[in-house]
Amino acid sequence: MDFQRFKPHLPWITLVVLVAFVGMVDDTFLRPANLLSLAGDIVPLFIMALGLTFAIYIGGIDLSAQSMANLITVVASVYLASFGWGVAVLCLLVGFGFGMVSGYVTTRLLVPSFISTLAVGGVAFSLAQFLSGQRALNMDAAQRDAVFGWMIGKTGPVPNELFIAAGLLAITLFIERRTTLGRALKAVGAGEPAAAASGINVARYKILAFAISGTLAATAGLLFAVKLSGGAPTIANGFLLPAIVAVLVGGTPLTGGVGGVLNTAIGTLIVAVIRSSMLYFNIQATQQQMVFGLVLIGAIALTIDRAKLRTVK
């Protein structure tokens, strides 16, 4: 078997091996109901990671995703009463707008995305605190069920969130594979100067990538707010690093141009399996973080396709 051809398949092989491994230790893990609920629980994380994929795909990073989701939980809770379903549109617009600002600052003001998105995240956090009056907010339960109840219900045994996730994955996959935008983003990620030299409007596509990232982070926030029936400026904290990890483990390295949204789907599942397997292996709460880190090093070492990295920085 030619190892070079084998390499791109490493992420999903890692996933299958992990699932089989946990399944051998405890076969209740492999029950469809368990797997479905496991998958349903990570949908907000997945959507955020999906957005981050675009930022990382072009060789950048979006550190504002978590603050954006926080802000959106607040926006959704505050304006649900007055706008009804229109609040969803508002949330996505806010996400798109903030993402565009990140992209603008990165491309036009030439501030590295690590800093620009962090700064925009700070602005989003301040806005969330201002809108919420620094309190946790609750949605009106009846109104939430009427407007967004379909998001968190179940169709047969399958949580509806999984359909949302699948829909978003299909849309992003279409953008990545079948549109000019997707091709342009791949070109920018693979080599920005070359992309610019061949006439691609690099700045515009990069701004769009950050806007997509912001929109998806907003979607994650909206889903999160509906799930928890409320919002707060810090409610989604702790999501950012796992989301980045999900993208990286899936095989989209920070150098850009390699990987994609399918990889992120697999990466998110790997992270979810590692996290939940701790229960099955009886790992104490105090040990989990450390074990997670160690397994992560192993998983990343396995899943990155290094043939496409010129120098390892």
Partner: protein, 321 residues
């Protein structure tokens, strides 16, 4: 020619100018900002942050990134607290031994980080991120989530004993700043950092042992994180698994604001110093002029963008990632 020269000079000093403008700005709004007491306050918050920033500066000069600092600091702080207690719990007895040991321990942590990055060929962003989880995890494991108090009077002297208005920890930070400056400018290792950052292939071709330089860089960074941990423990008198929280974004932001380019090869510890001071002055100044606390994160973000725009040489950049 002259014009070109003056532009270069201006860019070199731009971060410092930004700092001065900020000081003047906050003083103009509230004269209480410009006082020895307040400067001491800024210096105290800056000291641990400066150590982290210097550590990560070496990594960024090489064109890599290190995100393990939060884990490294939490881990070092907790190990230090336990070791200090085990060795007698006071600087009077064998407790002082914990100080060099923990710096060594930090260096080993960084060395492992570097080895994972170089030997397993994992990009530093991911290797160090994962090592950060391991560090925080180890700190949680050791403490079981509890706080470890370090209340030795002599050790707390880092904060309580003052000369010329500034506590000892500030002088410690200045000393290690000078050590960092020495490593950067007067040792082969320091020059090799720039060589690797300027172009890895080129450095390799001219005989620099790139892998060894990288691992050494991470080890030195680890040692600096351990010093930061000691100062952070000295500042609040306790160690816990969140001792290192928030250092990651603050330190990298500071380094970039100070004019160190994330793509490597330029900048140095003096940029890190100015960057840390800029961020600390902004944070302190917003409190002193009485800005409502919920605006401060957003304001910091906006000011950081402005500071980066003003203080980095952006004309020479082709690609901003």
């Amino acid at each position: 020619m002259t014009r070109h020269f003056s532009r270069k000079t201006l860019l070199k000093w731009a971060p410092l100018l930004v700092l001065l403008v900020l000081v003047v700005f906050f003083t103009a709004i509230n004269p209480a900002f410009f006082s020895l007491r307040n400067f001491a306050r800024i210096a105290i918050t800056s000291s641990p942050a400066l150590m982290v920033a210097i550590g990560v500066t070496f990594i960024i000069i090489m064109g890599s990134i290190d995100l393990s600092m939060e884990g490294a600091i939490s881990f070092s702080a907790v190990v230090f607290a336990f070791m200090f207690k085990f060795l007698g719990g006071t600087l009077d007895s064998w407790g002082w031994l914990a100080l060099p040991l923990i710096v060594l321990c930090g260096a080993v942590f960084g060395w492992v980080n570097g080895m994972i990055h170089v030997r397993l060929r994992i990009p530093s962003f991911m290797a160090s991120l994962a090592m950060g989880f391991v560090g925080t995890g180890a700190a949680i494991l050791l403490t079981g989530g509890n706080i470890v108090k370090v209340d030795d009077e002599l050790f707390r002297g880092l904060l309580t004993v003052r000369y010329f208005g500034f506590p000892i920890m500030v002088y410690v930070a200045v000393f290690f700043l000078l050590v960092g400056a020495f490593v950067q400018s007067y040792t082969p290792l320091g020059r090799n950092f720039y060589a690797v950052g300027g172009g890895e292939d080129l450095a390799h071709a001219s005989g620099v042992k790139v892998r060894r330089v990288r691992v050494m860089g991470f080890a030195i960074a680890g040692a600096y994180y351990a010093i930061a941990a000691i100062l952070a423990v000295g500042k609040i008198g306790q160690a816990e698994s969140v001792s290192g929280a928030n250092f990651m974004f603050i330190s990298i932001t500071s380094v970039v604001v100070g004019g160190v380019a994330l793509w490597g090869g330029t900048g140095g510890v003096w940029n890190a110093l100015v960057g840390v001071l800029i961020v600390s002055v902004i944070n302190n100044g917003m409190v002193v002029i009485g800005l409502p606390d919920f605006i401060q994160d957003g304001m910091l973000g906006l000011l950081v963008i402005i500071a980066v725009v003003l203080s980095t040489d952006r004309r020479s950049i082709q690609v901003v990632k």
